[in-house]
């Protein structure tokens, strides 16, 4: 055999084994979600079994699951939309009309992200209590918007900077008003960037588990809190937990896979491209 081919085969084996080991816990969870509760806790673990959809049916029938999933969707989309509405004008201004202090401003925005959540847990909790925001969707939307705002501004800023200025200028020469310039030129030109910014924001909101665990109990609790309630010993239905978890992570996993390239830029604030 050709040594190049052999090397490639060895690399293929090593690469797939590594990927398989990392992915295994997720795979195992998905597999368990198709077992009966008895099979789920069986030792030796059953690898070959008749797959059942009963867990998914059970999860769907539980009205509360739909309630928590709805909370996750509403909160993630709400916070993402709100963050974009606030961030787009700021990123537009800083990308196309940079001033002397723009760089400092960007860094300052970044530095607000350095505050560990736990350092401000108490005041946020007390403020929430006083404003009646505990266990409310809008409360969590506000916190998530603020939490992600620096990342959203940064990502939009780096994407906007890549839009050729000449095109915007040509539009301006043709008499485009500022609003038209943003809506008709900048937004379509940077749509992929805006989309991946929105995706990253949705992913971060969806998976956030510090504020949601501390600020919600039931009415506004998203899926992270719901899943955490399974940690109690009396809640040990592994197969159903697996089904509920699979449904909870599936959309986000797909989003993450779709936007993996742009994620790097967002997560490192443009330091690694």
């Amino acid at each position: 055999m050709n040594p190049g081919i052999r090397e490639r085969l060895v690399l293929t084996a090593v690469g797939w084994i590594a990927a398989g080991l990392i992915f295994f816990p997720v795979f195992w969870m998905v597999l368990t979600s198709f077992k009966t509760e008895v099979e789920a806790v069986q030792t030796p673990p059953s690898l070959f079994f008749t797959p059942t959809l009963e867990n998914y049916a059970a999860v769907r029938e539980r009205a509360d699951y739909v309630h928590f999933a709805t909370n996750s969707v509403v909160i993630s989309l709400g916070a993402t939309l709100l963050a974009l509405v606030v961030a787009v004008p700021a990123a537009y201004a800083m990308a196309f009309f940079p001033g002397k202090r723009t760089k400092d401003l960007l860094l300052w925005m970044l530095s607000t992200k350095m505050m560990p959540a736990v350092g401000v847990l108490i005041p946020v909790y007390l403020l929430f209590r006083d404003f009646g925001a505990i266990d409310s969707r809008w409360g969590l939307i506000v916190v998530y918007t603020l939490m992600n705002l620096p990342i959203v501004i940064w990502m939009l800023y780096t994407f906007f900077k890549e839009v050729p200025k000449d095109i915007l200028e040509a539009g301006r020469m043709d008499g485009a008003r500022p609003r038209q310039e943003v809506w008709l030129l900048l937004m379509p030109l940077s749509l992929p960037g805006i989309a991946s910014t929105a995706l990253l924001s949705i992913i971060l909101c969806w998976n956030e588990a510090f504020w949601s665990l501390n600020l919600t109990t039931s009415a506004a609790a998203p899926l992270t809190t719901f899943i955490a309630s399974f940690s109690a010993p009396e809640g040990l239905f592994w197969a159903k937990l697996s089904a509920a978890s699979t449904v909870a992570i599936a959309p986000i996993l797909v989003f993450g896979w779709m936007s993996q390239r742009q994620l790097v830029r967002g997560l490192t604030f443009g330091a690694v491209k």
Binding site: T12, G15, W16, A18, A19, I22, F23, P25, V26, W28, V41, Q42, T43, L84, V85, A87, P89, M94, M109, L110, S111, K113, M114, M115, P116, A117, V118, G119, V120, I122, P123, Y125, T145, L146, K165, M173, P178, V182, N207, A209, F210, L213, N214, T224, I227, A228, F230, S231, S245, I249, G256, W257, Q260, V264, L267, T268, G270, A271, V272, K273
Partner: protein
């Protein structure tokens, strides 16, 4: 909605900026102001309150508590052994997760940079854990893998004739390190892989021509190139790892005893379980100071990059 502030800006006046490029006088203040004001409030108000509470007697269960406490919350906290246990656990958790994710992440990034069959699919599988919500990943590990009776690891142990291990009872902190490292390994991999791929191919080719083997290639070409990406990974992970919470909340609840309590969990216990707002706030201030030591370096490193 997003553009209303612009309409209030001055009438578009095309000017000749230096360099012959036309620029418009757009007053950028109304565009940037909402973001700045929101972030300023988000940063300053809670932080000021944490600082204020940390110097107060304040217990939610005791309405008679109140008044200026001076540095008593701090002296109480700093002489309390549980703070030092939690601080030690926090640093151990951050340190070991960093070692595992950066070490393995670098090796995996080099591996996934090599051409092999089905590489792009394998890469998708390898980055999946990052998108799994923390409560789900903690429960997968707790129930299905590390469970001392029905877990998969216990099954393998029995297969080898070993006694099954009660991971969360015997090695609580190490177990949490494993879970958190599993979640953050894809992050390190993704960023280091992107950095490797930005390496100039000609440079690699030249090194190969000069007879560099894979090992010297790694140490003299790839690793130096990765330096900055690694430091970015370390700093960003540190910020998040200082606040690890859900994984502890779901698995060990900080126990047994305080064996797996980190600073974040200690503050949660003090504030929302013992209702000691003053003491918990002092802990919060310590957490902020800790994070800022790291943040200074991170901001400096990123500042260099936006000079363009």
């Amino acid at each position: 909605m997003a553009t209303t502030p612009m309409e209030s800006s001055a009438a578009p006046a095309v000017q000749d900026a230096p360099g012959g490029r036309s620029r418009r006088d757009v007053s950028t203040a109304p565009l940037v102001a909402p973001s700045v004001i929101l972030l300023f409030l988000w940063m300053i108000v809670p932080l000021a309150m944490t600082l204020w509470f940390s110097f107060q007697y304040y217990n939610l269960l005791d309405p008679t508590s109140g008044g200026f406490a001076g540095i008593e919350n701090y002296t109480y906290l700093l002489t309390d052994p549980s703070l030092w246990t939690a601080m030690g656990n926090t640093l151990l958790l951050v340190f070991w997760v960093l070692v595992i994710t950066v070490g393995l992440g670098t090796l995996l990034a080099v591996l996934f940079d090599q051409p092999f069959y089905g590489r792009s699919v394998a890469r998708l599988l390898a980055i999946a854990p990052f998108f799994v919500m923390p409560t789900v990943s903690a429960l997968i590990w707790k129930n299905m893998l590390m469970h001392p009776v029905n877990g998969l690891f216990a099954f393998f142990a029995r297969l080898l004739g070993l006694p099954p291990v009660d991971f969360f009872g015997s090695f609580p902190l190490a177990s949490i390190v494993v879970i958190v490292a599993w979640q953050w390994l894809p992050f390190a991999l993704l960023i280091l892989l992107t950095a490797i791929q930005s390496l100039d191919n000609e440079q690699k080719e030249a090194a190969r021509m000069d007879g560099a083997g894979p090992v010297s290639m790694f140490f003299f070409i790839i690793l130096p190139h990765l330096g900055r990406a690694i430091s970015v990974v370390i700093m960003i992970e540190t910020i998040f790892l200082l606040s690890v919470f859900a994984e502890i909340y779901v698995t060990t609840s900080g126990g047994p005893g305080l064996a797996s309590t980190n600073l974040a969990f200690l503050i949660y216990l003090r504030a929302l379980r013992e209702y000691d707002i003053g003491g918990a706030s002092a802990g919060g201030v310590i957490a902020v100071v800790l994070a800022n030591i790291v943040a200074v370096f991170l901001v400096r490193s990123i500042a260099r990059n936006i000079a363009d």
